[in-house]
């Protein structure tokens, strides 16, 4: 419903870069606490030393999603002494397309009028009514942007085409709620890749594990480590040395995946995994199936496995699985191990 969805928006902020080369946080509504502000300033490409200009980046910090749109100021404009600026929208939900569109409108307003008051008016109308007039034809409606569309916007086929059979490692890690770190020097590629990964565990529809843009700073890493399992994207190649932060490390430009020593035992794979891996690859390689169909296939298989697990749980008392219970079924070692850990992840294990 439109009303509840608008409750997701938390704040809007403005970062400007002026002719002196300073990047400053100049305005926000209603308020942004200083820790988040620091993080947002570090994420904005205007503060970074490199000349890379990223039009749109998003990420998560402390369970808040932030969406940063950066614009270069060009004539004619009411702004003086400003060369670039970024609009930051923070929200509780994951929907990059929605907030990108909203940010674009806000940016255009700001460039045209030179004052954030107009921006705020637009923001308030969206907040209250869920609709906003934009300068181009038409208007911005929140209900045009369904969250499912955001979830499905990532391309799982690309993931499978890049890693082939190794996608099963990612699948296993996600199913067992492990920590995955992805590295790519370019943020756009990182965002695109990581947002597709939670679709492998479609039955959970949990994108809160996704932290697509993280820097190696203490505040962010602390927040990251509060989550038990996550998908984190790093632009900094140094992260490969931080083996305390990950169970699976994905080097995107070179296309290889490594499993860290500490997680090798839990991630042991067997016949079951091979089966699932084949299914994923086959489904993705089929040119006639779209991304959503591939995701559906994978989720069907996942549901099968979970149904089996539930069946096993029902057989035991109080519907909880124990290791002894599993051992009685004489599964092969890897499958037994996987099911055991999966039960823990799905909270089916007896404590």
């Amino acid at each position: 419903m439109a009303t509840t969805e608008t409750q997701f928006m938390s704040s809007v902020g403005l970062i400007e870069k002026d002719v002196n080369g300073d990047t400053l946080w100049v305005w926000c509504y209603p308020s942004v606490d200083s820790r988040l502000r620091q993080v947002l300033l570090s994420k904005c490409c205007l503060t970074q030393q490199g000349r890379d200009f990223h039009t749109f980046v998003f990420g998560q910090f402390c369970r808040t999603w932030y969406y940063i749109t950066t614009v270069e100021v060009q004539e004619p404009t009411a702004l003086n002494k400003v060369t670039h600026f970024s609009t930051v929208v923070t929200a509780k939900d994951f929907n990059p397309e929605k907030y990108a569109a909203l940010s674009r409108i806000l940016c255009r307003m700001y460039v045209k009028h030179g004052t954030p008051v107009k921006m705020m008016e637009a923001y308030l109308t969206v907040l209250i009514k869920g609709i906003c007039q934009s300068d181009e034809n038409g208007s911005f409606l929140i209900k045009d942007y369904d969250v499912r569309k955001a979830y499905l916007a990532g391309s799982i086929k690309d993931v499978v085409s890049q890693f082939g059979m190794e996608t099963i490692i990612l699948y296993t890690a996600l199913m067992l709620k492990k920590r995955i770190i992805v590295h790519h020097p370019r943020i756009e590629a990182l965002l695109e890749f990581t947002r597709a990964l939670p679709a492998l565990t479609w039955h959970r529809k949990d994108w809160s594990i996704l932290h697509p843009y993280v820097h190696l700073s203490d505040t962010e890493l602390e927040d990251l480590q509060n989550c038990p399992g996550y998908i984190a994207g790093f632009v900094d190649p140094e992260v490969s040395n931080r083996s305390d932060l990950f169970d699976v490390y994905v080097n995107l430009p070179d296309s290889f995946i490594t499993v860290s020593q500490s997680a090798k035992e839990a991630m042991a794979m067997g016949k079951l995994h091979k089966e699932v891996g084949h299914l994923i690859v086959q489904s993705a390689e089929d040119p006639e199936r779209s991304d959503s169909q591939v995701i559906k296939d994978i989720s069907i298989k996942t549901k099968e496995i979970l149904a089996n697990l539930l069946a096993l749980a029902d057989k035991c008392e109080d519907s909880k699985i124990t290791l002894e219970g599993l051992k009685q079924h004489h599964f092969p070692a890897a499958t037994e191990n996987f099911l055991f850990h999966l039960a823990a992840a799905e909270q089916l294990l007896r404590i």
Binding site: T115, V117, P228, N241, S243, Q261, Q347, R350
Partner: protein, 633 residues
Amino acid sequence: MEEVDRILIHALNQIGTEVSEEIGSVSQFSSELIVKAVVRCVQVIDPGLGSALPSSLPPGMSARFRVGMSLAQACQDIGYKGEIGYQTFLYSNEPEIRSLLMFLVEKLPRESAETSDQPTGKSVVLQRAIAAAIKAQLSVPWLPVNCRLPLHTETQSAGALYSFHALPLSLSHSSKGPNKKHLKEVKDYQRDFLLPVTAQLSHHASLAASILEQHSTVLSAAQEWDSEWNNQGLLSRLTPQEYRSRKLTRLRKRIKEQLRSTALPSPESAFGSCHSSTDLCELLQSFSNSAPSDHILTKGTHFTHTQKFTFEQESATVTSSVPTGHQSDGDTQHRQQEELASLQQQLQQLCGDVDQLTADMKHMSVTNTQVLNELKQKELTNNEEEDKIQMKKKTLDCLPDTDNSLVKLQALVEASAKRLVNLASQWEKHRAPLMDEHRRLKEICSNQDLESSRKLSEIKSMHEKIRVSTEEARKKEDMYKQLVTELENLSQDVSRSAYTQRILEIVSNIKKQKEEITKILSDTKDLQKEINSLTGKLDRTFAVTDELVFKDAKKDEAVRKAYKYLAALHDNCNQLIQTIEETGTILREIRDLEEQIETENGNKTIANLERILEDYKAIRQENAALAAKVREG
């Protein structure tokens, strides 16, 4: 000429030829003296050539003749370009002798020029002294131990050798920087208890080494700090303390990163543990315990403990089997078997326990994660539910009067929105000028930065200049001191200032003369030009007149006479001019001849000729005597 002669005599005295006090000029040199002087010069210039020559003129005529020839040859070998032969020495004349002696004196090797080429300074003097001392010591031949005189023990025995071993010293000024506050206790300790440097060391021989080490450390640290501060510190625009503290934090961070990157892989490979130890102490402990130790159970996993247990048990069994080998066989075997069985039982039990524990731990960790997950999720759902409850409560309150409430709510919302926008615009009125002010000030600041960086670069160049100037000043002072000492040591026989004055006078005279000569030359040129033009004019006029008159002369008698007179006049005048010219040339010849007569007169030719005749007669007599001797013997 006097000064030249004085200089020559002085130079000859210096190289070793004895010239008596009375002789004041070269014209007074006798043949013997000339020969002695020339031989000495040649010996000094070129010892190889000079060794073959006798130092004085022998009595016999033929011998004299031979000596003269060899001396002439030697002089030519040295490089004298003028005409030289035995007659120059035996039958000398003043100008030739003077030029020869001047050439030889100039060729004399100059010691003073060499010393001025060498680098100046006290350190160089010291080095030269050290080099000389070492050379002297090396030149002393090595003798075996028994033959050594006390003179040699200092340089040839091994007892004098000490290795360079520096020990730490405690000096009262060893703390960094004059600004550091000295605590009263430290000062008291330094005053009352701190031993002097010579007493601080256990081994006296290392005193020099320790002091050198200490001083060079402090000096090099100070120099490095100076250079770093001048290059980077000033540019960073921090105070020295800030700069130092920043450097310290930067270095610490690097060390931490390095340790972390190198430390992490090894514990995992050594233990295969599930938990990577973040505590640095544990990390370091794990390095020292990487070899399995029997007694200490380090922080590892159950797997490694199992490993260690099995190995221990095996080693225990091995060791236990060895000492029992000495006792009687049957008894021992029985006992051994009993022991073995019990130990094996124990082992199995322990293995079982360990396995159980392992499984438990694994189970625990997995369930732990599950519970934590559950907890987190529950918390989140709790929060969400709370918010929902709040919302629902408020809606419930509004529920009885839905329509009104809805309208009221909408109105409220719109009013709030309007108020917010109003507040925002008010805030904007305050914010915008502040932002502008901020930017303006930042611009001024950056301009000032440019200024200050420019000034910094100026300061740097000033430092450079100061350094270079101090170097030069030091060098010049050293050179000045050395030259002053040299000047004092120089002999006072010949006064340099008189020479330099005369030289300057002569130079100015020559300049004046040159000016006069050029004037005369220009005058002569002008005269010659005038003469040429007049002659030309004359010829042309005569030609014209001649023609004119000749034309009329054919007709008129008087004109013919006039023509004859004209021709005669022209001829006579020509003759006059010729005579004048001849007179001039003859006068010039007279002058030249007079000059030649003067030079010839100086040659004392007559005296020489007489001597030659005498010597010739003497040689003939000698020849006759020698021939007679040969015929007899």
